[in-house]
Symmetry: C2
Subunit: 275 residues, 2 copies
C-alpha cells in the first residue's frame, strides 16, 4: 500500500492499495481513512478505511470535504443543530476544514452566517470565497461580547464550536432562546495545562440552550448519504473548498504545530507523494 | 382573593379566590400559581394560575410536588434526560424541592441514584426517606472528582444539575459516553459577582455529552399529564415529599436567604395563613 498518502493531522489520509488480503480491497484501489503518518502503511484494521469511488475531484478532498472533516461538518450542522431556514449561525475557526463547510451549508439553507478567524486573509476568504454574510478577526477584537452583539443584535440561534474558552463564554451571553451549540472542537484549549474557565453557563438555563458534543466516528453510517448530498454541490460549484497543502512528509510536524497558532489557511493537508 | 397563601421563593403560592371577574375562576376556588408575597393579592394575569381540583393532599403540595417544582422534576427528568432503566443518575442539591422528586422518579425507573446535599440530616433523608442508593455531604468531600469516581466507578449517565460551579466541573470528568446533563438550576452561582469558571467542558466532546437548560414555564401544557402520573404515586405512598415550613409572611425573607446557604431541609414553604 502506498503512493498518494496525504495525511491529515490525526492520521487520516488517502492511499493506493499495493497489496491486500481483505476481500473488500484489492490492488490498485484508492482508499481514504486511518492511514498513519508514513509513506507505506500496513493496515490491519479496516474499520476506518473507505474505498474511493468518485475520482473526478482532487484526491486530497478525501482528507477534507469528502472525508472526515466533510462528514463532521454535515453531521454537526444537519444532525446535531436542527437548523432552520433564516436562523442566525455563528462559526468559530470558520476558515478551517470543518468551519468553511458549515458556513456554506448554512448559507444553502438561507441562514445568516458569521464566522471568526485569526487573520485578515482568512476573514477575506470567509466573505469573498465562502460567501459568509460577515466575518471578523477575533485577534483584533478586545471585547468578544460586544463584537457578537454587533454582528448578532438579535442573538445567535446556532453556534458551531471549534475553539472553546473565551469565545464560548462570549457566545453564551449572546444565545437566543432555544439556541443550540454543537461542540465539535476546542482548539484553543488542547495544549493548555489547565483549561480556561467558562463563566457564563448559567445562560444555558436562562436561554434554554442545548450544548452537545459529538465525534464523527459515531456517524460513519451516514457517509453514503453525505456523499450523495455533497458531490452534486461540488460539481455545480455551489460548495467550494480551500486547502493548505504542505509538501513532503517531513513538513508534517511543522504543519501540525502550525494548526494551533492558526498558520494554516483552509484545511491543512500534507502531501506525501503524488500518484 | 386570599387566605392560604403559601408562597415559594419566586412568588408561587396557594390561595383561595375571594372574588373574581374571570370566567374560569369563581369565589371559593382554590388556586395555585403566581400569587406574589402577600396576604391578599389582585391577580390581573391568570396565565400562571391553576385551579386546584384535587384536595385530598396537603394544599401546600401545590407549591411543591404538585406545583412548579414537581413539574420541573418531571419535565427535566423524563422529557430532557431521556432516561433508561438501569442508568446511573446523579442529582445535586438532591434533598431540595426538585431533587428529591427526580431521585424518586429515577428509582421508580430502576436507575442507580446518588444525591449530594450539604448536611448529615439531608444525606440521611436522601438514603432513608427517599431511598436513594447512595448520598454524600459535599461539604465533607475535599476532592469531588474522587468522590464521584467512588460512587460511579463506571461513570454517570444522567446528571440533574441544580448547583453549577465546582460540582459541574467534577461531573464533567465523570460522565459516560452519550451522557446527558439537564441544567435546572445553579444555586451556587446566583449570588456571585463573577460566576466560577468551569474548566472541563472539553469532555462534552470526548464523551459525546449533551447539556440542556430548560425553564418549566415552557412546559405547563404537560401539567395535566404530570398530575395523572403523580397523584396515584402519592396516594400509594410510592412517592413521598418533605417540606420545610416557615410560619408567617414575616419569616419569608429569612427563609429565602436560608436557601442560598442550604438551611432548609426539603422544599421551603412559607405559611402565610391557614384556611
Amino acid at each position: 500500500m502506498n503512493l498518494i498518502l496525504i495525511t491529515s493531522h490525526i492520521g487520516f489520509g488517502v492511499a493506493k492499495v499495493l497489496d491486500s488480503g481483505h476481500p473488500s480491497f484489492k490492488k490498485g484501489d484508492l482508499v481514504w481513512g486511518n492511514t498513519k503518518w508514513e509513506e507505506y502503511s500496513l493496515i490491519a484494521n479496516s474499520q476506518f478505511l473507505f474505498k474511493i469511488q468518485h475520482t473526478n475531484v482532487p484526491l486530497s478532498y478525501y482528507t477534507g470535504i469528502l472525508g472526515m472533516p466533510g462528514l463532521t461538518a454535515y453531521v454537526g450542522f444537519y444532525e446535531i443543530c436542527s437548523p432552520k431556514r433564516g436562523e442566525n449561525v455563528f462559526i468559530s475557526a470558520a476558515s478551517g476544514a470543518v468551519g468553511q463547510l458549515v458556513g456554506q451549508f448554512a448559507k444553502l439553507l438561507g441562514c445568516y452566517v458569521v464566522g471568526s478567524a485569526g487573520s485578515k486573509e482568512k476573514v477575506d476568504l470567509l466573505k469573498n470565497k465562502f460567501k459568509f454574510d460577515e466575518a471578523f478577526n477575533y485577534k483584533e477584537e478586545s471585547d468578544l461580547d460586544a463584537t457578537l452583539k454587533r454582528y448578532f443584535p438579535e442573538g445567535i440561534d446556532i453556534y458551531f464550536e471549534n475553539v472553546g474558552g473565551k469565545m464560548l463564554d462570549a457566545v453564551l451571553l449572546n444565545m437566543r432562546g432555544h439556541g443550540r451549540i454543537v461542540g465539535c472542537g476546542m482548539i484553543s484549549q488542547y495544549n493548555l495545562d489547565k483549561h480556561e474557565g467558562v463563566h457564563n453557563l448559567i445562560n444555558l438555563i436562562y436561554k434554554r440552550v442545548r450544548i452537545e458534543g459529538f465525534i464523527v466516528t459515531d456517524y460513519f453510517h451516514l457517509y453514503p448519504k453525505f456523499l450523495e448530498f455533497i458531490l452534486p454541490h461540488i460539481a455545480e460549484g455551489k460548495i467550494v473548498y480551500v486547502e493548505d497543502i504542505a509538501e513532503g512528509l517531513e513538513s508534517g510536524p511543522s504543519a501540525l504545530i502550525g494548526l494551533f497558532s492558526g498558520l494554516n489557511v483552509g484545511k491543512q493537508v500534507v502531501l506525501v507523494a503524488r500518484e
